[in-house]
Amino acid sequence: MSDTVTVYVPRETTAVSLGANAVADKIAALDKVRLVRNGSWGACWLEPLVEVVVGEQRIAYGPVGPGDVDSLVAADFLHGGEHALRQGPVNEIPYLINQERWTFHRVGLIDPLSVDDFSAHGGFGGISRAFESGPEGVLAELKTSGLRGRGGAGFPTAIKWQTVADAAADQKYIACNADEGDSGTFSDRMLMEGDPLTLIEGMLIAGFAVGASKGYVYLRSEYPLTNTIFSQALAAARESGWLGDNIHDSGFNFDIELHLGAGSYVCGEETAMLESLEGKAGVIRFKPPLPALEGLFGKPTVVNNVITLASVPNIISLGGERYAQFGPGRSKGTLAFQLAGNIKRGGLVEKAFGLTLRELIDDFGGGTASGRPIRAVQVGGPLGAYIPEHQLDVPLDYEKFTEIGAGVGHGGIVVFDETVDMAAQARFAMEFCAVESCGKCTPCRIGSVRGVEVIDKILADDNRAANLDLLDELCDTMIDGSLCAMGGMTPFPVRSAVEYFPEDFQPPAGAK
């Protein structure tokens, strides 16, 4: 066995979308190879990234297409041989070593479905510590950490959990929001594909802390591979006694049910998600009552995003204080930023809050894929503002972004080069809202349709000045009169486009 070589080939959506399965099949057919399907480290531009274990090191090759395997074999890659695609030891790739990996520290490293591999790298350390310290100990540690909701709203997690813990009820729930619908975001997916047991452990800790015995994961249907992998992880957790009754003799019972969304963007809003989990149309609920008091099936419910829950195990096992050392002011800890759109080195970068967009885009991302200058960057999904080039030095921090009328959201960063038509982007924001509005609030349902019409009139030079005023007024109405972020934030990308790129809303040169 000693001459058997271990090779890692990711089983992860992006890697697979670029041929990783065919690469894996070819490598598995070689003699004396043990193939492990890991998650992606997040250096997506190098996918499919193949790693070969040579001595103590994992030598990386990428991007490896199915057609490259023969030449890799000829170069003796199974012993770390030289090849044009050789990237050196994976733990020396600058993109990866310059990160602060807290939530993603096992993603890429381990076999996502191996409970042994997970445990050998600190897995279940958080829940074990929680069993020792009791629910109060968990809540205290979480408070110290300063963790805020990573789904986009940034609400302090400890306050939410404390509210549910303090509520008296015969049944409480943990509902994990994995309806990652924002364009430019894929961190939930990468975590669930690359280290799904961490999410399960985070939900266990949440259930233990607030007194809930049942958890739900609401996963979007656009992620079929994630669905397969996470279902397998749930089975592995049950089999090893980490889900079910009397978990590892703790006296604590907890199980998780996986539900699929059905293509509705607004179901990423927490109350719409709860409706969908109850089998209904994803129409949002009026708040109050807060889901923490009357959530799923009317019971106290912790609703948290995947990354929030997955950040918890390390906070409990390493201590909240250590987490709070990352990040400035009230933006404590790390965020898994996602570099997307027109970017040379797209991927996932987990860093402490406080670095600038420019550092992320230039130092990690290497600028645009097209090589043309950047014109606009949309941060935080389709409801996030378009940020012009001259604002790229603002630090990524919840408060600093609020000051410039933008939001960090779920950490998705979509880069556009100079060829972008910002009027088309503003129109799309309204159009998307019209398609995805749940229909409950008039400003959102009707306002978005009117928004498209008004932008069309502006572009046709029909009463331009008056229609620009009307668009502005419409944005106010949507912000003030919508119950949730769908209608309430669609004006952000629209207004930022009009404000920073007014030239795109002029009639085409030579017209009229």
């Binding site: 670029l18 619908g181 539900h259 969304g261 089998g279 970017i343 998307f432």
Partner: protein, 157 residues
């Protein structure tokens, strides 16, 4: 391939989810997996067995993009229309697809071979533009790669 509706199998699917109304979205997914769409017959039976009104079930079916009420083409091709893919040319790719396939977005070809649909984000944004054919995702799809995927060459990338 259209699978003929079978009431006893439908009951079995519903019972797999405990015949509970809160499982309606999951039950509808299971129906789409088996029958490719939600028929009137299915709505009637689901409503009956979950003790819901037909209007209740219809309301849920019509709310979600995933629950189509007519059979799709043999292959379903989805092109991401969201921002990250826009930044990498998805509008041009969409126009190319409509042109070579002779089908507009959200339509099925007259021979029933193929349905073209928009999708808003497949989470493959670091390697845009993204396309999904049946349940398989493809990254960095330009016009030439798109044509290759449809020809079946490289249907497995």
């Amino acid at each position: 391939m259209a699978i003929r509706y079978d009431a006893s199998i439908a009951t079995e699917i519903i019972n797999n989810f405990g015949a509970k109304p809160e499982m309606l979205v999951q039950i509808l997914h299971a129906f789409v997996s088996r029958y490719s769409y939600i028929s009137d017959e299915a709505i009637r039976q689901i409503a009956n067995e979950l003790n819901l009104s037909r209007a209740d079930v219809h309301g849920v079916v019509s709310y979600y993009h995933d629950f189509r009420t007519s059979p799709p083409g043999k292959r379903v091709v989805k092109i991401c229309q969201a921002e990250s893919c826009q930044a990498m040319g998805s509008r041009e790719l969409t126009a190319h697809a409509e042109n070579v396939l002779g089908v507009a977005m959200s339509e099925t070809s007259t021979d029933g071979e193929l349905t073209l649909e928009p999708v808003y984000c497949l989470g493959n944004c670091a390697c845009s533009p993204a396309v999904m054919i049946d349940n398989e995702v493809f990254g960095r799809v330009d016009a030439a790669k798109f044509d290759g995927l449809l020809d079946g060459q490289g249907a497995r990338p």
